[in-house]
Symmetry: C2
Subunit: 229 residues, 2 copies
Amino acid sequence: MKNAVIILSGGMDSTVCMAYAGSREYNLYPITFNYGQRHAYEVGQAKKIASYFQSNRHLVVDLAFFREIGGSALTSEAIELPLNRTEKEIGSGIPITYVPFRNGVFLSLAVAYAEAVKAQAIFIGVNALDYSGYPDCRPEFIEAYQTVIDAGTKQASEDKQKLQIITPLLYKTKAEIVKMGMDLAAPLQLTTSCYRGEELACGRCDSCLLRLKGFSEAGFIDPISYESY
Amino acid sequence: MKNAVIILSGGMDSTVCMAYAGSREYNLYPITFNYGQRHAYEVGQAKKIASYFQSNRHLVVDLAFFREIGGSALTSEAIELPLNRTEKEIGSGIPITYVPFRNGVFLSLAVAYAEAVKAQAIFIGVNALDYSGYPDCRPEFIEAYQTVIDAGTKQASEDKQKLQIITPLLYKTKAEIVKMGMDLAAPLQLTTSCYRGEELACGRCDSCLLRLKGFSEAGFIDPISYESY
């Protein structure tokens, strides 16, 4: 029996990760963060996705913290979401949607949960190609984090059971992620990517633009609904 | 102007760290975690200590998470606290008071807070000599975490402003920490260490035993009150 914690946002990438982990016969322990994000709509979708996979206990962690510290367009209505940016603009620099060290925080809580359920793996859908330029999505961040787990957990240091971060999407384009999701029959119709966080996706924020580009290049129709269509 | 985030539990070590950071002329941004610990009494003491230092915003983070995942004598009343252990017993292996990856979680939130307040340093009172054997207190864990910060934060990767973990107590004995606290006039009378978390310390849990040994070896009287005295 292999257990895996899946960092599940309710977005496409984490859902494809979840489908991938399921296909590798892990028992799935999804963890989702309700961190005051503008698009808290995704938390409800994550719950539907966890049910869809009939996963084990779905842990939804309430973290008012990020809204309290502020400083990101994703956790503050006072900062406007950038819209209609070009591919080149999205690819340059760290955008105002950066939430300070978000993946660092999410991974740390996932590691603690993994120790509690004796998981051997943590799946996280980070991607270093068609992504928003967040530093905590890069391969060097994930590699360094693995060293932290090896040094700082009871499981790795005393019980000698490895706890591995697995990043199946790290070097994939968004189009490849869409294809992978289709191959794995991931419930993409339940996923949401839009930063605005309404039932109809805006089609204009960085996240919608990356997603639409992925579907377009993969040659599939996105099963979710957009405002402008 | 230098800013520092201090991980402040309300215990002696973190309070000595806070006094040390203050003596180095940092603006102090303490962060405290209310994580469902048996000894939540320490959170109240941390608030008094933050006031004592007239520090900037004291961030108290509510994290129901650790109690939800369980598995530690510090977050579950169903698991008994070990009492009256010998020094040798305390020094051998990881005890049942280990909270899964607690310092990993605390550091990650401290890093996020540090990015928000543009701090150059995070002070954490980990100690690898007179400590409870927790893997997330060891030098190799802290070193690995520094690499994670360098790779995964906006501040280090784009703004090129270093964010350094500083561990002034890492290689000190408990007696040396007591002396350092006295030298710095740290308000040790406001600190609490007991895992039981009542106003009178029990004097028998690992944490009380380490503290009493430190005061005894340093030749000072502990200013807090114990049940058995």
